[in-house]
Symmetry: none
Subunit: 525 residues, 2 copies
C-alpha cells in the first residue's frame, strides 16, 4: 500500500441506520450498497445477520451481489464473557455471513469492562484475543474496533494499549480507534493516534462520532497522525449528532490533502450519491453540507459574488463539478450588480452593469426585499420584475374580481370555493372552482378561467407550495411569503408572493406562475 | 483578562444573515439581539448602516436598546483605495452608527490586493493603517478582520504578517484571522495562529467558515494556539456551508476545555436560544446539531439506551440540562413514557407510567404525530389531548357555523371577513369581524363571539403565527401545520392545528388557544 492510501470504511448501513428517523428496508440497503460500490469505498459494514430477520434476509441477498470495488464486512461483538468462542451464537452468525472480512468490537476502557460488561479486565483481554484468533483461523480479514478507545486511554492508558496489543497479537489486520462518546478533541485524537501508530504495527483506523461537532476534524487529525483507515457514514448519518461524514472526509483527504481514498474518476459521483442516499433514507438532504450540499458553492454577499465571477480560486476551494456539484450564484439585499446581471441579460443581453435600467432594477429589488420578497429559489418572479422595468412585459389578463369562500362545517367533501372574473382584451370570463383549501380553490379557478384563452395553461401543474410568515410581532396581521413551484412536464419554475393576506400572497405567486408559462410559450411560438 | 477568557463575537446578524433562505426583518434582528444579550456574548456584529434602508432602520433602533452583557459592533471595509479616509462614505456611516466598537475588514492576501481590489500592496497597507487609526482617534474600540488570512499567509507569509503588524501599529485592539474560503485544516490554523500570537501583542481572534466541515475544529485549534476571541454565528448560519457554529464552540470551550466564554448561569439558555433563533430565521432547526439539537442526547440503539440508563457518563459527554437540552428517549421505546409523564402529571398527578390511561395517551400521540401534529413548542395543545383522554375536559362552546370570505379587489381597506355562529349552553351568538387576512378575521370573530360569555377572553392577544406545509408532494392539497402563540400578559402559550385547509388548521389552533385560557381561568376561580 502506498503512503498516501486511506481505506474508506462505510458504516451507513450499520451505524448510520441507528439514526433517529432512519429505518432502511432490505431493498433500501441493497440500493445503497450498489451506490457505495459505484463510489468505490473499500468496506461496506453491513451489520450482523443475527440482529433481526431483516438483517438476515439482507445478508443473504447482498452476498449474491456482484460488486466491483467494495467488500461487505459483517460486524459484531467479541465473544461473551466466560464462554468458548465457538459456543457464542453471534460469533457463529458472523462466521456464517460468509463475508471475506469481519469487524469485531471490544472494550478498551477498564471502567466499562467492570461496570457495563461486568467481567474482569483479564477476561476482556481473552474475549478480544479468542474472537480475533478464531476468525483469523477461519481465514477472515479482521478489523478490530476498540470501543471508547480515547476515553479508555485517558482513564487507563496502559490497559487501553494492552487491549490493542492483544488484538494485534491475535492477528487483527487493522485496529480501529473509536471515539464512541464523540467528545475527544481532534488534538487529543491526533496525539494518541500517533502514539498508537508508533507502538502497533498493523493498520490503524479511526471512528469518530460527532457529539462535539468535530468528527470530521478528528478523523483528519488521526490520518495526519498515521491512521490509514477512516470509518464513517454517507452524509454523517448516525445516532445523536451522527457519525463522521464520509462526504466531507473523502474530498478533504483526496482533493485537499493528496491522499487516495476512492478511484479518481468516481469523485464526481460524490454529490449524486450523497443525494441519493438522503432520498432513500427519506431524510431532507442537508443543503449546507460541505461539498455535497446545494449551497456549498452558492455565493450571496455582493462582494463575494463579484469576486467569484472575477476569479474563482479567490473564493472557491475546489471546482464544484469535481464532486458532481454546481455553482449557484444568488441575489440578495447586499448583492452587487454583477450578481443580478446574468438574470437581466437573460431578458435583454444589451443591458450592462452601468445601464440606468440596472440601477433601477437593483433599487426595485431592494425595495421588494424590504417588503418581504425573497427571490432566491423564485427566479421566475424576479424575471417578471425585470421585464416590467425593461418594458418587456404585457399583462396577459386583467383581474376583475375574485371571491374565496371557506365554509365550516362543510356540507360537501370540500370546504373552499372560489369565484373568479377575468378580462382578456374585450372578453370576460367568469367561472368558479372548489378545492381542499382556499388557495387550492383559487388556483383551480384561475387556471380554469385562463384555459379558455390560453390552452397551454392545461399543461401546468402546481408541484410545491410553501408558506413563510414574516414579521411575527404582528401575529395574524403579519405578512406571509408564499412560494409556488409549477411544472409543465418540461421545466420547473418557482414564483413568490408577499402580503399580509395569505390568499393575496398566494394569488400573486399564482399570477407570476401562469405568466411565466405564457411568456415562455409566447417566445417559443 | 484571565488566561482562560475567550471573547465570543457573534455575527449571526451580519455573516449569518448572508445565508441562503435567511432574510431578517428589522424586528427579527432586534429579537435576536435581545436573546444574544441574554446568552451573554461579548460582541454582536450588526452590519453596516449604509448597506440598505433595513440596516439603517435597524441601527437606529438597536442603539436604543438597553443591553446588559453585549456590545453592538458595526462592521465595514477599510477605506477604498486612493481616497482619504474622511471622504469614504462607508467609513462615515460606520462612524455615525454610534457604536462603541467597530470591526474593519481588510485584505491579507497579496493576490487579492492586486487582482480583486486592483491596487498596490503598499496602498493596501495604508488603507488598513488609515482606517484603523481614524477610528482609534475617534475613540472607538477596533477589531481588525484579516480577510483570507490563512490563504494569504500560505501564499506570501511576509506580506500577510505585515498587514497584521500594520493593523497593530495603527492601534487595533484585536486582530481576527479569517479563514474566508473555509478550506484551511485545523492543524494549519493552529500552527499559523501560534506564530501570529508570538509576533503580535494584541488579542488575536479566529473567524472560520465551514466549507471543509471543520470550522468548529479550526476555531478550537486557534484557541488552543493562543487566540482569545472566536467569531461565529448561532447554529452556524452563514453563506455556503455556514460559519463557525457558536452553539458548538461555546460548550466545547467552556464545558469540555475549561475556558470562560459566557456567564456560567447562562449556559442553560443555549438550547432555547438556539431554537429561538432558528424559529425567527424560519429555518428548520438542525436536530442533529451538537448540544442544541433534539437528537444530541437521544439514544436509540438498544445497547446504548440500556447503558445510558445504567450509567450516563458511559455515553453522554455532559448532562443535557446544563445546556438547556433534555435527554430525548424516543417515544417508540418503553422508556419514552417518562418523557410524557410530566405533562400527564401536570393534569392528573395520580396517573403513573403503568396506568392504562398513559398507554392510551401515548397511542393517541403516535396517531396525531403520524397525521402531522408536533407538540414540541405546542404543549398547550397536547395538554388538551391529555385532558380529553382523561375525561378532564368539557367544551366551552359549540361551533355552529363559520364562513370566511376573501375579496379581491378590496372595496374597503381590509380584504377578509368572517361570520361566526357559536352556542354556549342554550344561548347562541352570531357575529362577524374583518381582518387583514382570513385567519386574522376568523380569530377576531371567534374572540368577539366568546367575549360575551367569557369576558376574560378580552385579555388574550395573538402574538405569533407560523405555518408549515407538510407533504409538499401534493402541492396545495398538502397538509399545513399552524402554530399560534397567544399571550394574556402573564403567560404565553402555543397551540397547533393540522389540516389540508389552512383555515381549518388555523381554526383548530385558535380553538385550543382560547380553551387553554378558559381552562386556566376556570382553575384559578
Amino acid at each position: 500500500m502506498e503512503n498516501n492510501r486511506v481505506i474508506i470504511y462505510d458504516s451507513t448501513l450499520r451505524d448510520g441506520a441507528q439514526a433517529l428517523g432512519i429505518s432502511f428496508t432490505v431493498e433500501d440497503k441493497l440500493k445503497i450498497v450498489r451506490k457505495l460500490d459505484q463510489l468505490g469505498v473499500d468496506y461496506i459494514e453491513a451489520g450482523n445477520p443475527s440482529s433481526n430477520p431483516k438483517d438476515l434476509e439482507f445478508f443473504e441477498k447482498v452476498m449474491k451481489l456482484k460488486l466491483n470495488n467494495s467488500k461487505i464486512i459483517a460486524f459484531g461483538a467479541t465473544r461473551r464473557a466466560n464462554i468458548k468462542v465457538e459456543e457464542d451464537m453471534n460469533i457463529q452468525s458472523l462466521l456464517n455471513a460468509g463475508t471475506e472480512a469481519v469487524a469485531v468490537f471490544g472494550k478498551a476502557w477498564d471502567f466499562q469492562v467492570t461496570e457495563i460488561l461486568k467481567t474482569t479486565l483479564d477476561e476482556n483481554l481473552s474475549m478480544i484475543y479468542d474472537t480475533i484468533k478464531y476468525f483469523k483461523q477461519k481465514g477472515k480479514t479482521v478489523v478490530y474496533d476498540a470501543e471508547h478507545f480515547f476515553d479508555g486511554y485517558n482513564a487507563n492508558s496502559e490497559y487501553a494499549m494492552t487491549t490493542l496489543k492483544t488484538a494485534y497479537e491475535a492477528g487483527a489486520d487493522a485496529i480501529c480507534l473509536c471515539d464512541t462518546k464523540g467528545a475527544s478533541l481532534p488534538s487529543y485524537i491526533g496525539k494518541v493516534t500517533k502514539l498508537v501508530c508508533q507502538k502497533i504495527s498493523c493498520a490503524i483506523g479511526i471512528h469518530c462520532h460527532n457529539d462535539n461537532g468535530m468528527a470530521v476534524a478528528g478523523s483528519i487529525s488521526a490520518v495526519e497522525a498515521g491512521a490509514t483507515q477512516v470509518q464513517g457514514t454517507i452524509n454523517g448519518f448516525g445516532e445523536r449528532c451522527g457519525n463522521a461524514n464520509l462526504c466531507t472526509i473523502i474530498p478533504n483527504l483526496q482533493l485537499m490533502m493528496g491522499y487516495e481514498c476512492i478511484p479518481k474518476e468516481n469523485m464526481e459521483k460524490l454529490t449524486p450519491i450523497a443525494r441519493y442516499v438522503s432520498e432513500v433514507a427519506n431524510i431532507i438532504h442537508d443543503e449546507r453540507a460541505p461539498f455535497v450540499g446545494n449551497c456549498a458553492f452558492a455565493h450571496k454577499a455582493g462582494m463575494h459574488a463579484d469576486a467569484v465571477n472575477k476569479n474563482t480560486s479567490a473564493y472557491e476551494m475546489i471546482n464544484p463539478t469535481v464532486v458532481g456539484n454546481q455553482r449557484n450564484i444568488l441575489m440578495s439585499e447586499v448583492a452587487g450588480r454583477s450578481a443580478v446581471m446574468s438574470m437581466i441579460n437573460m431578458v435583454d443581453s444589451t443591458i450592462t452593469k452601468d445601464s440606468p435600467e440596472t440601477k433601477k432594477i437593483i433599487e426595485r429589488l431592494k425595495e421588494l426585499e424590504y417588503e418581504g420578497y425573497q427571490y432566491e429559489g423564485a427566479e421566475s418572479s424576479f424575471e417578471l420584475v425585470i421585464r416590467k422595468i425593461l418594458g418587456k412585459y404585457k399583462p396577459f389578463f386583467e383581474l376583475v374580481e375574485f371571491k374565496v369562500i371557506v365554509d365550516e362545517p362543510t356540507v360537501s367533501s370540500v370546504s373552499s370555493s372560489a369565484m373568479i372574473k377575468i378580462k382578456v382584451g374585450e372578453q370576460t370570463e367568469i367561472t368558479a372552482a372548489e378545492g381542499d383549501g382556499p388557495v387550492n380553490a383559487l388556483d383551480s379557478a384561475l387556471r380554469k378561467a385562463l384555459e379558455r384563452f390560453y390552452p397551454q395553461i392545461a399543461e401546468i401543474k402546481l408541484t410545491d407550495y410553501k408558506v413563510r410568515v414574516l414579521d411575527s410581532n404582528f401575529a395574524t396581521a403579519s405578512k406571509v411569503r408564499v412560494l409556488i413551484e409549477t411544472s409543465d412536464g418540461e421545466e420547473v419554475w418557482t414564483t413568490v408572493g408577499v402580503s399580509t393576506d395569505i390568499i393575496e400572497a398566494s394569488w400573486r405567486a399564482l399570477v407570476d406562475s401562469v405568466e411565466h408559462k405564457l411568456i415562455k410559450s409566447q417566445i417559443c411560438v
